[in-house]
């Protein structure tokens, strides 16, 4: 595509997203038609679920519906935990704490290893369930989420009897009863990130999955039961923000761990302040993704796609602010359009789907609000993906904006959707200062083939994870977490254990 054509399409795409624009026409030869390849294995879902407290299931009460965001069809009725039920769960965890923390560490490890194994054995069922409840493509839940969940338990299991090596010069002991509140974008993976290190360090837990994605966490409760985990060590309660608020203000927790929005994280910090409850927060991001002119451009374009469209962009570390060196901007934008047009948006259960359904109506509304803001503030939308969206469900065609100014809302606030803001820069110094010009500091990406430049930029970026010539890679041995307002504490790696021990 020539620069003239590019300028033309830039000018012609500020139309209604539902309308047909010149930008909608995919470049020739980049799209293949695939036959449908749906995952056909059926999983059983109970019509109603209670909470898993003290090794037992409560009777379902004051339920709400969890639906499949790709079809809007109800999946199950989920109980909303009251403050009294939160209290019951905390008491169960408290009662279990003594025996669990005093168990020989090797035995504790074996329970966690068992959980890891059962997750591997039931991985297909878990992947299908995850996709049904969250809307994420089956190829991601099957190849990324669930394998990482199993690996996370496996990695941490082995730490249980080796904690002395993790804290040289100090003696670790369990913190106690942990309250853990997790988001809906990686439902089971976030449960694993919270539970595995907590259990390995000898703590007991009350975990609340997100309101819209409780099913895999409830399945994990089944697995805990199945492997004979002592009652009360893991309690899983479901509910909405009110249950979360009841947890944040419950005096029985020795520690609170939260992953979610910065807004809610600040409320939890405030609630915990008076009691001095220990806290880890993994909050929002607006991560910069920097492409230098000496990068391998095709690989960088692939990285950009991975960075912003993985999991519908509903990723706290999404590379949502793209900084492209000025002299390659047109080239990168042109290549990005071709690649964006080839993404397959649709049925998450189809094994060929790249971008699935947005998790909820509320989230879709938020994304659409930002897309409208981007246009009204003067940025140019590139809405070139030709996928036909299903008639029911919550869908957002992946897109990107050019002509974005640092002051634009879409360049400053976390959208949590498949929407990329493209900005440019001239010098490395400018890239660093613009990249760091945000209250967030979760992740960052750098693309250049020059080694010394990578280390210089990586050192100067204020971010907890820096992906160089790659993006959105995760591993249980690799700590994850943010600088600045993206939170504190790490999850994963030896550093992640620190959040679940007291040191003497």
């Amino acid at each position: 595509m020539t620069d003239t054509q590019l300028a033309h399409t830039n000018g012609s795409t500020t139309l209604d997203r539902n309308g047909s624009t010149a930008d909608h026409i995919a470049p020739p030869g980049v799209r293949w038609n695939y036959a449908a390849a749906p995952e056909t294995v059926k999983v059983t879902i109970e019509p109603r679920y209670g909470h898993y407290i003290n090794g037992d299931w409560t009777k379902p009460n004051s339920t709400f519906t969890t639906e499949n965001p790709a079809t809007q069809k109800p999946l199950s009725e989920i109980s909303n935990a009251s403050a009294a039920q939160v209290d019951t769960a905390v008491k169960a965890a408290r009662a279990a704490l003594g025996p669990w923390s005093k168990l020989p560490a090797k035995e504790r490890a074996k329970y966690i290893f068992r959980i890891a194994r059962r997750i591997q054995e039931r991985s297909r069922e878990l992947a299908i369930l995850e996709t049904m409840d969250s809307g994420k493509p089956i190829k991601e839940s099957r190849d990324v989420d669930i394998p990482l969940v199993a690996q996370h338990f496996f990695y941490h299991a082995g730490w249980a009897d080796k904690l002395a090596y993790a804290f040289p010069g100090a003696t670790p002991s369990p913190i106690g009863v942990c309250g853990q509140i997790i988001p809906w974008n990686f439902p089971l993976l976030m449960a694993a990130w919270k539970l595995a290190p907590a259990l390995a360090c000898g703590n007991t837990c009350v975990l609340k999955p997100a309101e819209t994605t409780p099913l895999t966490a409830l399945r994990l409760a089944e697995i805990c039961h199945e492997v004979g985990l002592p009652k009360g060590v893991v309690n899983i309660i479901t509910g909405d923000g009110r249950t979360g608020a009841a947890m944040a203000s419950h005096p029985g927790f020795d520690k609170l761990a939260f992953t979610g929005s910065t807004e809610v994280g600040k409320k939890i910090a405030l609630a915990a302040a008076s009691r001095g409850t220990k806290l880890t927060l993994e909050l929002g991001g607006k991560s910069p993704h920097i492409i230098f002119d000496d990068a391998s451009i095709d690989q960088a374009v692939e990285g950009i796609i991975q960075g912003i469209y993985f999991n519908q962009g509903e990723v706290c570390c999404a590379g949502s602010r793209l900084f492209v060196q000025e002299n390659i901007l047109d080239q990168v934008v042109a290549k990005l359009k071709i690649r964006l047009a080839s993404l397959r948006v649709g049925d998450p259960m189809d094994k060929n789907t790249d971008v699935g359904a947005v998790n909820s109506k509320a989230q879709l509304d938020q994304i659409n609000r930002y897309i409208a803001l981007g246009q009204s503030e003067g940025a140019q939308i590139h809405d070139v993906n030709p996928s036909t969206l299903p008639s029911s469900g919550y869908w957002c065609r992946p897109c990107f904006f050019t002509g974005v100014q640092p002051s634009h809302t879409i360049a400053r606030e976390e959208i949590f959707g498949p929407v990329l803001s493209i900005l440019s820069f001239r010098t490395p110094e400018e890239a660093i200062s613009r990249a760091n010009n945000t209250p967030y500091g979760l992740a960052a990406g750098i693309w250049t083939d020059k080694g010394s430049k990578i280390f210089e930029i990586a050192r100067k970026l204020k971010a907890g994870v820096v992906w160089c010539n790659t993006y959105n890679k995760f591993d249980p041995s690799s700590p994850f977490g943010g600088f600045k307002e993206s939170g504190f504490g790490r999850e994963g790696g030896v550093q992640g254990l620190r959040a679940y021990v007291n040191l003497h």
């Binding site: 915990a272 302040a273 591993d475 041995s477 939170g487 790696g493 040191l503």
Partner: protein, 304 residues
């Protein structure tokens, strides 16, 4: 009028100022506090810092931080060791600064577990110097203890390095006025943070002396800024300041709650030290450095 007992000469009562950006300004508020000696007579005057002074100090720390962090760890180690050397050379003066106002403090200190009650001024100065030497030695080692390579399951080279958090407010305990301050300060600056230090309220003299020592040391201007004043007045401003990244503070009760609530403002890292026995070796640990560093994990493909 207090007079020197050995001669008839009238003492010069010094008015100590704040230490901001390597300079010694008065409080913009014009307020001072009278420091009494053990007999209840005026010994000196200190500046009572205001919210605006705090803001100036934070700006100074922010300006100084990046350069301090990017200096080599070996250089930071030597500079902190140099502070210890300079304290050693001014032991007598430091002992006098603790001793001269020590008596009225002892009564109130009995209530607190962290009184350092059997600590003589001479021992306190010795502990303080040794603590600085301890942390001087950490500057070029802590990242080897707290960071590591990570064996990720894939063709990537992956490692984690600790980096300084940024601007840290250090709130010294009232007692012991020098050792408490040094114990909270040293682990923060050795990793490359810049600080705004609030001195002991009841005996700010060792802190102001430290400021005078730092001014002629190799510590770059702005890395340590020292304010004297009223803790209850300054703590809410510290908690609410959006450009303070972390707090290492001796506090309890409502002050501690106020500081922790500051987390809700800008996700500050808040570490409260209460009931610390400052002479104990628990104050000498890489785990006192760890709360004021941010773990950065870097990924790079390791296959062509």
């Amino acid at each position: 009028m207090p007079t020197n007992t050995t001669t008839d000469r009238l003492d010069i009562l010094k008015t100590y100022k704040l230490f901001i950006d390597g300079k010694f300004p008065r409080s913009e508020s014009g307020r001072t506090t009278t420091i009494l000696n053990s007999k209840g007579q005026p010994l000196a005057y200190t500046s009572r810092a205001s919210r605006k002074d705090l803001r100036e100090a934070v700006e100074s720390a922010r300006r100084a931080q990046a350069t301090w962090a990017s200096s080599t760890a070996y250089l930071r180690a030597q500079i902190i060791y140099r502070i210890a050397e300079m304290l050693e050379g001014r032991r007598a003066e430091l002992i006098e600064s603790i001793h001269s106002v020590a008596a009225p403090i002892a009564k109130s200190a009995k209530k607190s577990k962290s009184s350092g009650k059997s600590l003589t001024p001479a021992a306190e100065v010795a502990f303080s110097i040794d603590r600085l030497v301890h942390y001087a030695g950490w500057a070029d080692k802590f990242s080897q203890v707290l960071g590591c390579n990570n064996p990720v399951a894939g063709p990537h080279y992956n490692f984690t390095v600790p980096e300084p958090t940024g601007v840290v407010a250090v709130i010294a305990p009232d007692q012991p006025p020098l050792l408490g301050l040094v114990s909270l300060l040293a682990p923060v600056i050795c990793s490359g943070n810049a600080t705004v230090l609030i001195s002991s309220q009841t005996n700010p003299l060792p802190a102001v002396l430290l400021g005078e020592i730092l001014a002629t040391s190799d510590v770059p201007a702005g890395v340590v800024n020292i304010l004297t004043g009223d803790h209850a007045e300054l703590i809410p401003f510290i908690a609410g300041h959006r450009d303070i990244d972390a707090v290492h503070g001796a506090a309890s009760g409502d002050s501690a709650t106020t500081l922790r609530a500051g987390s809700a403002e800008n996700i500050k890292r808040v570490v409260i030290r209460d009931s610390i026995e400052y002479t104990s070796s628990e104050c000498e640990s890489a785990w006192w450095i760890e709360p004021f560093v941010e773990m950065k994990t870097i990924w790079h493909p390791a296959s062509a």
